[in-house]
Homo-oligomer: 352 residues x 2
């Protein structure tokens, strides 16, 4: 577990095609608008063009991947919701009743739910991948959340799921009562920030309960103080859904797919992945700044600037689904807007 | 012109249905998510529900209305672009090559372009409303931009266009070389802010040119120092596209349509309208915070909190079209998400 290179992780190439970059920028600058006047939408178009390797990018068959798993640490009372909500929400995703179900349907995003380690037996059905490594993680207060083998297993599951899915873009979400604790601990461990600056309310832990949550996480980090390497930290601190997402995003980046990242917990998977494959970040579009304490810090640590700031704190991929139409807009601008020449519109320098 | 009540403006009812408000809020709180966890999307859903008078809001046949006109003041060199760009961009909107054309098509928004006073003769065609009051405004440095009669005419045109259009939502945009100057002067005059804090680069006026622009606007304001009433200010400072939009939004609000406001210039029409019919603001969704200096100030003056902050500075309705899918998402959440009871998901208080 000390050497992450034991894992059969694919390479991820940095985005460095300067010829294409110049081509895309020229194209943006010749559209019928003042230069740069579409602001951050232009940055988005530029980035997606580079990822997909074309100045006429088209996003095809987007796949929402929601990874779900239970957390042994939830027994310590770190969440406002009972653990059963994990499996109940998986059912709700598949039945079309969750926010991410509604938003994915609205935006023609295929919904894939992955049981990475939920403490429940699901009936098989379309849209559900049963890739259960264990019935939840162990309680990280007493030992590692998962064994090295289980962690590796989850990573490979994530890689294989992406290999199976069509399209050139994935959106990542998660479900797991207790998983804001894993995300907070991973942030603290992998970026050397104090756990209190990384720990937030999750689904609704406030006041004394938040203080208690932070104290427990402090103890868990102390228990696993020797786990400092990315995958060792992930195995020690959990969870199975985060590990599956780590595999998924590294695979997606290696295939030059666009990765649309949701909130705090999905971002923690990117943080772990980027510690092993730094170029993964080149393929990520961060959809929103979550209201969860710790997310802004996490984004800063990765140099990420999210698209939306709507004070969301739901997770599940809902922010990624909400931002999706803006990615479609960015591509449509590059593909469909007229240039000054073709439209017969005068430029600003014609005025001189 | 002293008394705006000479205009046959419809009444706009304040949104005060507290029974419906409670119903919508209850519905949001019972959705399968932690209370308030969809952040500002919930506020948006709440607002649209109130406007449309239902807890199951559905946005139908959205109409983009882009009002275009020329400005006599452009002769003073206050814009980076030549005046011909106004009519050229009208052609570009209709040909499908402008940002707002591409974004409206992407989001199934009907595009309506209004010639409110462009210095050009257009061939008639579908999607183009020729409601030309004059071939541009007069140079406001030497006299009022328009006569009281022309201003009234433009307002009535705007009202009539909305009456003709189907659906329950309008999105407002504008085109007019020189119109960031009118918007800046209206902001300064109607809110008592110094013109220098209201004047920005528009499509690309920087450094000394921006200083010169500000000085010219200062002179125009001094010339029309007696025009302090909303419609008197509008007639004195221009422009015809802003006046047409003022009529359009008051009509739309009186019919309880959702009004999606674009950037700085579109917002200036709301500012003028709200000085006559304050409840117009209840019907407005501000789509984005523009990078144009003065827009944040203008939004603050109206107590408005925009949805997006993407550093756009294009106008034309492009920001409104970009934000549109988020309004659709807000409504879909209210209409389609499951409640805790129907989905069989445990609540946080089941945990106690």
């Amino acid at each position: 577990m000390k050497n992450s290179e034991n894992y059969p992780l694919p390479d991820v190439a940095a985005l460095l095609d300067s010829a294409l970059a110049i081509k895309i920028q020229n194209q943006l600058d010749n559209k019928t608008k003042p230069i740069g006047s579409l602001g951050r939408l232009e940055n988005l178009a530029f980035r997606i063009g580079l990822i997909l390797g074309t100045e006429k990018p088209e996003l095809l068959q987007p796949q929402m991947i929601i990874c779900a798993a239970d957390h042994g640490l939830a027994a310590e009372g770190i969440s406002a919701y009972p653990g059963d909500v994990t499996w109940q929400m998986v059912e709700n995703f598949l039945a079309g009743g969750a926010a991410v179900s509604v938003l994915s349907k609205q935006n023609n995003i295929a919904l894939n739910v992955v049981d990475c380690g939920v403490r429940h037996d699901f009936a098989t059905r379309p849209g559900l991948f049963i890739r259960k490594v264990a019935k939840g993680t162990a309680n990280a207060l007493h030992g590692p959340a998962m064994s090295n083998e289980d962690c590796q297993h989850a990573l490979i599951n994530g890689m294989n799921i992406v290999r199976e899915l069509p399209g050139n873009a994935i959106l990542i979400g998660e479900m797991g009562i207790g998983n804001s604790s894993s995300a907070a601990m991973l942030l603290s461990r992998l970026t050397d920030n104090d756990i209190s600056s990384c720990t937030g309310s999750g689904t609704g832990v406030f006041g004394n309960d938040l203080k208690k949550k932070t104290e427990i996480l402090e103890k868990v980090l102390e228990k696993h103080k020797d786990a400092t390497e990315p995958l060792g930290s992930l195995a020690a601190l959990g969870g199975l859904e985060i590990a599956t997402l780590v595999g998924a995003v590294i695979q997606a980046a290696s295939e030059r797919r666009v990765i649309v990242v949701d909130g705090f917990i999905a971002s923690s998977a990117i943080l772990v992945a980027s510690k092993m494959r730094p170029s993964v970040l080149d393929y990520c579009i961060f959809s929103h700044r979550s209201d969860e304490k710790g997310h802004s810090l996490m984004l800063n640590e990765m140099g990420a600037e999210p698209i939306l700031d709507l004070k969301l704190r739901l997770g599940e991929g809902s922010g990624a689904a909400l931002a999706w139409p803006l990615l479609m807009s960015a591509c449509a601008i590059l593909r469909e807007m007229a240039s000054f020449d073709t439209a017969g519109v005068s430029r600003d320098d014609d005025n001189q």
